[in-house]
Structures are given as C-alpha cells and as structure tokens.
Symmetry: C2
Subunit: 430 residues, 2 copies
Amino acid sequence: MNKTYISDAGRFEGQDVTVNGWLYNKRSSGKLWFLLVRDGTGLIQAVVSKADVPEESFAACERATQESSLSVSGRIAPDKRAPGGYELQVKSVVLHQTALDYPITPKEHGTPFLMDNRHLWLRSSRQTAILRIRHEIIRAIRDFFDSNGFTLVDAPVFTPAACEGTTTLFETQYFDEKAFLTQSGQLYMEAAAMALGKVYCFGPTFRAEKSKTRRHLTEFWMVEPEVAYADLDDDMALAENFLSAVVGRVLETRKEELKTLERDTAPLEKITPPFPRISYDEAAKMLKEKGVAFEYGTDLGGTDETVISEAFEKPVMVHRYPAEVKAFYMKNDPSDPSKALCVDVLAPEGIGEVIGGGQREDDLETLLAKIKKHGLPEQAFDWYLDLRKYGSVPHSGFGLGIERTVGWICGLPHVRETIPFPRMLNRLKP
Amino acid sequence: MNKTYISDAGRFEGQDVTVNGWLYNKRSSGKLWFLLVRDGTGLIQAVVSKADVPEESFAACERATQESSLSVSGRIAPDKRAPGGYELQVKSVVLHQTALDYPITPKEHGTPFLMDNRHLWLRSSRQTAILRIRHEIIRAIRDFFDSNGFTLVDAPVFTPAACEGTTTLFETQYFDEKAFLTQSGQLYMEAAAMALGKVYCFGPTFRAEKSKTRRHLTEFWMVEPEVAYADLDDDMALAENFLSAVVGRVLETRKEELKTLERDTAPLEKITPPFPRISYDEAAKMLKEKGVAFEYGTDLGGTDETVISEAFEKPVMVHRYPAEVKAFYMKNDPSDPSKALCVDVLAPEGIGEVIGGGQREDDLETLLAKIKKHGLPEQAFDWYLDLRKYGSVPHSGFGLGIERTVGWICGLPHVRETIPFPRMLNRLKP
C-alpha cells in the first residue's frame, strides 16, 4: 500500500494509503473511533468502524493514547468539514508504541513547564506553525539575496576580538589563546564585499545578555548583507525591498499557519516599499511631542522605539543618530559630522528595531582615530584597516535579527517561541 | 549614466555605463591603457585611449595600482577574445583610492602568508570561484530539502551535554553553568522529526581538533537531516539522491568557476544514483585483499577510507559497522546485533567520508542500557529519552560536512580554502 504524508492526501483521493504518525486526539461513539492523527505535515481524521476493521485494530484504538505512534491504513475520502479537506476511512490500525502520561495535555500549562518540555512542546499545532513560518522567513531571506546577486559568505563564530564592547561576550579557551563567540559578522562581510561586491552572512550570533526581556536571547540568528559602492540611501532602499519581500512571501505561502496563530494579517499586508524615513532629530521631536521623557543625544530605548513605531503603519527607518551613541565603524555625515550615516528600521505594531545598519567609515585616518577614541585595541583591527588601505570604497550594510522578525510576523509577545531551542539566562536545556 | 555589474554588461551592449570596481591588472601601449577591472561579479577589460578621455582620466590610469578602487565609464562593446565577451571603451576614469604596495602580488606566496592575509586573498579569482561554488552547494542543499518537504529547524550551539565524547569540546562559562559548543544537532533533530516528520538543521559545529590535517577545521558547517518513520535503507536512498542533486547543481550552474579551478569535471558527472553499497565486512575484506594493515573490528581510518573510495567511481556507502565503534544512539541490526544500522558515505577520488548517519535506537530500554554502557550521564539525556517514551518510531538521518564537500567538488587538497575564514589549531585570525 502507498505511504503518504497527510499534506499529500488529496493526491490519493479514492485510493488506499497508509499514514504514519502520532495520535493527536481521539473520541469514541460506540462502534466508531474518530482518531485525529498528525504526521508533522498536517492533521487528518481517521474514522474507524468496528465492522470494517480486524478486532486487533479496533482494540488498538482503545489503547492508543495522546502521542502514541501509529500507522493507519484506509481509503482517502473528501470531507469538506475535515481539516485539510479529507478523511481516512480506516481498514487497519497498527499501534507502534504507547505513550503513557504524555506530559503536555490539552489543559493550560505554565511557560516554565512548557520550556522544560520544549522537545515535546514542539509537537503542538501552534509551535509547528511558528517553526514553519520561521523556515519560510529564512528561505525568503536567502532567496531575496541569492536572486539579487549576493554571494553567501559565512562569517566565523570564533573571533579574536570584540566588535562592539566586551561586557556581553562569551569567551572560550581556544588552545593557547582566548576566543570570543561572534556578535556580528559585519567586519568580515566588509572584507568579503571588497572581493565579491554584494555578500551576506547568515548564522548564529551570541550575546551574554543578563537581562530577562521579551526581546533577548543569548543565541540568536542574524543575516547581514554588505554591499560595496553603496551609500546610506542605497542601504535604506535595500532594507525596505528586502523586508517587504520577506513579509510578502510569508503572507503568500503560510496562510494556514498564520490562521493557526490567529495572526491578524491586515497590518502585514501594508508592508510594501517605500517605508517612511525620519531622522533621529525628527524622532526626538516626535517623542517630545508625545510627552515621552527622552534626553536628546542619547540612543533610543526600547520604549522610545515602541512609541515611534506605533506612530506608523509601515516599518519606519530612523537615520542619522548622534555619532557618539553609535559604533566606531559608522561613517559620519559629511553635512553634519556629529551624526552617523546609520539607520535603524523599527517594525510597526510597537515591535521596535529589527534592522540596524548604515554606511561604514571608509577613510583610513578617520577610522583609525575612531578606533583610538573608542579605546579599542588597534592591533586587533589591523586586517580591518587593510580594507581602507587597499582599494577603499563607500560601502554599506545592515543586520536583521531573525527571532525578532519571526516574533513580529507571527504576532508573538516573546522571542522564546521564535527559535526551536531557545537559550536565555537560566535556560540552557533541553 | 547607468551603473552596471560586470556580469550584466551584456545587457548594455552599445550603451554607455559605469562600472565600479578595483584594478586587477593593467598594461600600457603608448597612448592606450588596458585596465583589467574586477567588481566581484567578473572581470572586464577597459580600453582607455588618450585621445578619447580627459587628461585627468588618462593620468588616473598611470597612477592606478593593483587593487586601487576606481570607476570606469564608457561604451560596452562585444569582444570575443575578452573574458565575459565584452570590453569597455572608456570615456572617463575616476580613481577613488590608491592602494599602495598591495601585499598579494602575482608572484607565488606561501600558504601561511596568504592565510594571514585571508581578508585580501579572498579577492583572487581562485578564491572567489571557490566561494561562489560554496554558495551554490549550500543553496543546492537547502533547495533539495526544502523541495522535498523538510522543515529547517535550527539546532542550538550552546548545549549542556556532549553528544559524542568530551575530549574535543569547546567550553564556555554560561552565567553560573558550563556550556559546550555543539558538535552535532542530531539529538535535537530527533526531537524535531517527531514534531514535523522531516527536518534538517544547518549551522556551524565545533571540534577542538588538536591534529593538523588536511581534513580538519575547529569550526565547520554541517547539514543534518532527520526523518521519522525511516529506516537505514530509506536513509541511504535519501543520501544518494541528495548528494547527486548537489553535485548536479554545481555542474549545471558553476561551469566557469570549475574552469577557473581547473577542475576535471568528468569524475563529478558520474555522481548519479544509485551508489554502490558495501557492508563493513565487505570493506574489511577489500582492505585485506589490497594488502592494507587493517584490524577487523576497528573503525575505518582516513587511509582505509581513501583506499576504499578509490576503488569506486561513485561515492560508496559503507554500512553496518561494528556497534562497538559507533555512537550510543545507533540502532543495532536485528539480524546481527554486533553491527550498527549505520552508513558512512565515502566520496570518490580518494576523498573519504563526507556523510555519516544511520538509523537511531528507538527502544527506551535498549537506549538506556547503551547510555549506561558508554558511561554517559543519564540525567543529561532525560529529554532525549522522552522521545522513546512518547510515541517512539523508527527514524534515521545523517550529517554532511560542508567543507569536505566543497573541497571534493572543487578538487582542493586541503579544507582551509573551502570556508571564508578558516579556524584551525594556530589559526584564529583574521
């Protein structure tokens, strides 16, 4: 008999097939069992009539518990009321392993309990929907860059020096040296952009965040494009086209999953280029007008970002922050050197920053002065300085945090459900 | 004037465009300069005639050195002898930054010097060709799984316990605990396969290899598919279809890069399913016949793998090794419990193992006994054991090392050129 995945059941209408899966739920009606079976691709209702199956099959239905593994064989028949549009008219049931006292029951569980059982929690419809959307977001990101002439250049995880400060670094003994786990692949992407023109890296990055917030993980994935011969305007155009393409893809291909999550898709449908662009000065003015206690000259905090992003239906691109509050590698605005040619993209619905980027300092002497001013060890950056000695060009890029993006698109209040096995303060297992 | 990348020059035949790039090489012929310009997408010859350009443009050609950044504007004209098929008849040249004493000259350099200058070495045609093929291999891998119903499930890098031994683990302080950097996402993929049916992870993995060999990096990328309701035969079928699809894609789309690397593609064209399958016992017999000093019952070493792989034109799948030499999670062969239901795929041309995998032990008591026998801390595996308590099913998977695969397909003798920024013993920079 043909095996099929539930998502392909429609191709076998009227035929006999076997579905291998797990029992999601069941109910009985005397001489009938209704088994709701999941196989990772979907759910199907399997109808077992005592009259139509061997005795041991019917007994298997009695014994089968939530999450027991089983194979159900029978005919695929259309059923408009069924999830997926088909049901299975069962001819035999084989129970493989009986799950006793599966810990996650239909009743409500607390988050710590569910996180402790993350390896099982992943089986719930809500979690599989999130994982499938995460998969689609990652695929859409790669497709966007790959189809726009970018080359993937994986950045290293082990780095000899810190890109931005050292307080949140994870450290490891690397034979006779110390190594730090990367917080960003940007510096490496700058080198790669000089070789390949348009590049991106996409991998895990690490931050020893001691704060417990809904936005922070110690291990999170980031995609970082970098383009040679591109200025801040090019960078913003890239960011808005990119983000719109990613949101558009999820809307197009993951309707079912968004429905499972009860995500209102109306706000997502508005994510199309161009995005509004406001300067830091305009953002500061906006905060003042809204009565937010904000000190001009400082970085925007989480609350400030929320307030600003709530004022727009689309992601808003806030550019030209004070150079003082931004990293050493940012290029100063020639028309106002107190400002950096940077941009943060704040997602709407109060989400806040999902993208940070900008134009990089490309002048050797200026960059050297900045490294000294920031008190960074010059010799750790010798190779990075080489990029300004040998064919320096204007270049720009940005980083997008995957988990915040997944959280935004899925409409989740906390990033902990946006990654299969989250790592946070107090959370290293499973 | 339109900007163009060199790879798109053909679209602008007869038109005036600007190419932004770097000087790869130049030669003069009195009143003519021939500039060979690269921009990361290709090379184009720019012909500068003293009569046709402003004086400062011609002077810029004189001053331009290897890897100086410059923009050349002019008309795109077909030229059959030119790389790419077009040349640029220049109307103006703008020199952005003059590279003085670029360290990598056309003369031969030693490998340590090139590795120290990896951030610049990436600009050579050979290295960009390798990086583009690496990009294509990774894309082909993802396309294969994505189009075959797999869901990407990223495995964590921080893990509380070791999957296979502890001697080659990198350790980090994780707040009040110790964490280890992952060596494999497999255990997590087993959990995810029970949720989503077919899954894969794809990320960096870490091994504190003290040995300096041509096959080892401390940080390398691995893709690991895992399938629920799949046995060893299914696993081998998946491996041969997968590997054939990846090699086929590179042959189809990266002819130019393979030519740059002077890779003989004839051996790669033979990589189609089915692959030969031999048991460990047959492999041992083969080694004996070839006069290799090999002790029956031990694992195959690098040399053994080379000898076996050289005997086949296609990758050879060696299955059913002694259970003793394989990891605790391997299922024993019911028809000969001294053997594990595992498979190693050895690439031809003497490359050796690129894939290792097999069917996982799915019986709770057997698995528990194996964990004890291997002296592993049972409580570290409590969540993993849950997978056998709650709906255990036969399942299989494998891991493919990206760098070895890139090395094989590109025909490189050493893995150090297969990853943008290699990490090895004594190599943490740049």
